[in-house]
């Protein structure tokens, strides 16, 4: 019995520490906390994936549950897989692109750390988006400015905390980090280009295989 309560207590402590205490600490003292994330291994993958899933869910909820007054989407035509991809794909692209660039630019951050920093920086945006989503169902058109303001503040926070986090984990200066981010954008474009190329080639190969197999079938069977 005591063992069970001990376990529950432990789990609650873990939950509180990883899902509330540390993420909010980052909001208060970003430099110190991101430093802890890197050197004291305070970052949690569980929380990072939780934020990623939450953001994907929010993108679906924003499509379906946003207040009628500002929702111009046809909610019966929702494509949840597509909406999930609109979150997942840019995140993966950014993390991989940033990792590619910073490895070449003497960045000290690892792939996992970049991912964690991005997700921790996204956390305040998620919360603000949820609040905005709720408000969009309650407010009238004249007051919808608040909703848009919240969403904008969320995006700005993502940029600010992401920037601070990346500078800290790569141990960069200000100018260096800006340069790295610009190069990251370029790298993301290149990645997209390569992906398109790969898909086109795979489609061609697949075409070739099907045609050959069809020919063989017609000739011998």
């Amino acid at each position: 019995m005591t063992q069970v309560t001990e376990r529950v207590k432990h789990a609650a402590k873990w939950l509180y520490g990883n899902f509330w205490f540390f993420p909010t600490k980052i909001l208060m003292r970003p430099f110190k906390s991101f430093d802890q994330l890197k050197f004291e291994k305070k970052g949690s993958y569980a929380f990072a994936f939780f934020v990623l899933i939450l953001e994907a869910l929010i993108s679906i909820m924003n499509f379906v549950y946003k207040g009628f007054l500002i929702n111009y989407e046809d909610i019966y035509q929702v494509n949840s897989l597509y909406l999930i991809l609109t979150v997942l794909f840019p995140v993966v692209l950014f993390v991989v692109g940033n990792w590619c660039v910073t490895t070449l630019m003497n960045g000290k951050g690892k792939l996992g750390e970049i991912f964690q920093v991005t997700m921790y920086a996204m956390f305040p945006m998620c919360i603000l988006q949820l609040v905005a989503l709720f408000l969009s169902n309650v407010l009238i058109l004249d007051e919808m400015t608040f909703v848009y303001a919240l969403q904008t503040i969320g995006a700005v926070l993502l940029a600010v905390y992401g920037f601070i986090g990346l500078t800290v984990i790569h141990e960069y200066g200000l100018g260096q980090c800006i340069a790295a981010l610009l190069l990251t954008v370029a790298a993301m474009m290149i990645l997209v280009f390569i992906l398109m190329l790969v898909f086109a080639l795979v489609a061609d190969v697949w075409d070739f295989v099907t045609v050959v197999s069809k020919e063989l079938m017609l000739k011998y069977f």
Binding site: F68, L69, Y72, D74, Q77, V138, I140, L141
Partner: protein, 484 residues
């Protein structure tokens, strides 16, 4: 058992009869949802009869139909070589094939392209290739021939008046083919005053980009970027000009004010009245590209019909530029057109001239169409209660009619039933009025729950304070005891 069978049979029969009635009558029975999807709609206007030269023994053919004009007691139908004046029931009153000119010579009508009639029953006929406008007295005798107006600086541009209208002040608005500066505004005596409603030339950045690289020779061979030509015009119930034009963008119909600006303004989420919203861009043997309006007519409560030359369809919009119904289409079948050239309201009927079939196609409203038009009419006259009744009836014919839901919703909002209004306005995709209804509902809810809510909040705070005080007292007592 037999009763049940009979019931089932009857049900099946009604089902099939409905399907047949729906499929047979009318043409192009569809509408667009607020999300620009195509949904079927019941036919609003169906072909009543089509008139050919055979129905008028006095004339031998109806070739080269070009224009129709309707005033309060007659219908004027113009062919290239004759003018038919019809009664409102489309029986023949008079055929005009020629006139006596000033010298008394008999001149046959030829190459006519447009007609308009003033309230004083003076008839104007434009002859584009002869560069002149004929003006007839109400007794069909020639009053004057108006030649080319003097326009300084345009001496080498050919004057080809194709269509014209006369406004309440007696000014003439003439479309001249190939004059890209706009509609010509002439005084009553035929002198030129100004160009009116010029269509701005627009380019895409991409076009400009390619032009940067073109050599002089290439540029010379490229087609000129000219403002688009007007094709047809009419005057609406408020005295504004409705004009159609050959345009590359979606604005192929414009409503022009006295300054010549387009005053068709639609909300950001609503499409401009542009005919078909979904069009195929490539294909074999089928019309491609967006709709191109070539004729427009307005009735006395602001509803206007536009004739699309791309797919031979007629689109009807209300005074708020929402699509009401569509009919017509390319083809030889009943209710379809081969080469429609003009469209007009005749009473509650709609008449379309088919130049290739040489026929006058008369469309009558179905029960659904009548209800729809009545609703639009009463809404235009600010009789919202009556309009709402018609909207409700329209909903029994067409569950997908967004406009009707918003019409009913607005009426409910006015009569103070905000919650029901919200439901209807949501289905009507009417955010502006949903906002108003919701604001009222929210205010009422807040008013109802504000006092109890605050009471509960204050109670909780009070409880907390009491709890703290009690705790302190208990603590102090314990301390006292410990001291003792």
């Amino acid at each position: 058992m037999t009763k049940r069978l009979i019931c089932l049979l009857l049900a099946l029969m009604t089902l099939f009869s409905c399907a047949l009635a729906d499929g047979r009558n009318g043409s192009s029975n569809y509408l667009y949802t607020p999300y620009e999807e195509i949904i079927p709609a019941p036919p609003a206007y169906t072909l009543k009869y089509s008139l050919t030269a055979r129905d008028y023994p006095e004339i031998d053919s109806l070739d080269n139909l070009v224009d129709i004009y309707v005033d309060d007691d007659a219908v004027y139908i113009l062919c290239a070589k004759r003018l038919l004046v019809l009664e409102m029931d489309l029986s023949l009153r008079k055929v005009l094939t020629g006139y006596k000119d000033a010298e008394g010579n008999e001149v046959a009508l030829d190459g006519c392209s447009g007609i308009t009639v003033t309230p004083e029953k003076e008839i104007y006929i434009t002859q584009s290739e002869k560069s002149q406008i004929l003006n007839f007295n109400p007794d069909y005798s020639l009053k004057r021939v108006m030649g080319r107006p003097e326009i300084i600086g345009y001496d080498n541009v050919k004057y080809r008046p194709t269509k014209m209208v006369v406004d309440a002040a007696g000014r003439l608005y003439v479309i001249s083919k190939g004059m890209y500066e706009g509609i010509l505004e002439l005084n009553a005596d035929g002198t030129f005053t100004r160009f009116f409603g010029v269509n701005e030339v627009t380019f895409t950045p991409w076009q400009l980009f390619w032009r940067m690289f073109a050599t002089k020779e290439q540029r010379a061979r490229q087609s000129l970027w000219l403002p688009s030509d007007f094709t047809n015009l009419c005057i609406d119930q408020d005295g504004f000009l409705f004009a159609t034009l050959m345009a590359d963008d979606e604005m192929t119909v414009k409503r022009l004010n006295a300054k010549g600006q387009n005053i068709i303004k639609v909300d950001a989420e609503k499409p401009y009245p542009q005919g078909d919203l979904w069009t195929n861009e490539s294909g074999f043997g089928i019309p491609t590209g967006k709709s191109q309006f070539i004729a427009v007519d307005v009735n006395d409560f602001g509803a206007y019909v536009c004739l699309d030359s791309t797919r031979s369809r007629v689109f009807c919009y209300n005074e708020d530029h929402s699509l009401l119904f569509i009919f017509g289409g390319p083809g030889d079948r009943e209710g379809y057109f081969r080469n429609p050239v003009d469209v007009s309201f005749v009473g509650e009927y709609i008449v379309v001239l088919d130049a290739l079939a040489q026929s006058i196609e008369v469309f009558a409203p179905t029960q659904y169409g009548k209800v729809l038009m009545n609703a639009v009419k009463h809404q235009y006259l600010y009789e919202y209660d009556v309009a709402a009744k018609y909207w409700e009836e329209a909903l029994t014919y067409n569950h997908n009619l967004t406009l009707a839901y918003s019409g009913v919703g607005r009426m409910l909002l006015r009569s103070g039933e905000e919650e029901e209004a919200m439901e209807y306005l949501k289905m009507g995709d009417d955010r502006k009025y949903y906002d108003k209804a919701y604001e009222k509902v929210r205010t009422a809810t807040l008013r109802e729950y504000f006092v109890p809510g605050i009471c509960v909040l204050l109670g909780l705070i009070a409880l907390r304070i009491v709890y703290k005080v009690v705790k302190k007292i208990v603590k102090n007592k314990r301390k006292d005891r410990a001291r003792i």
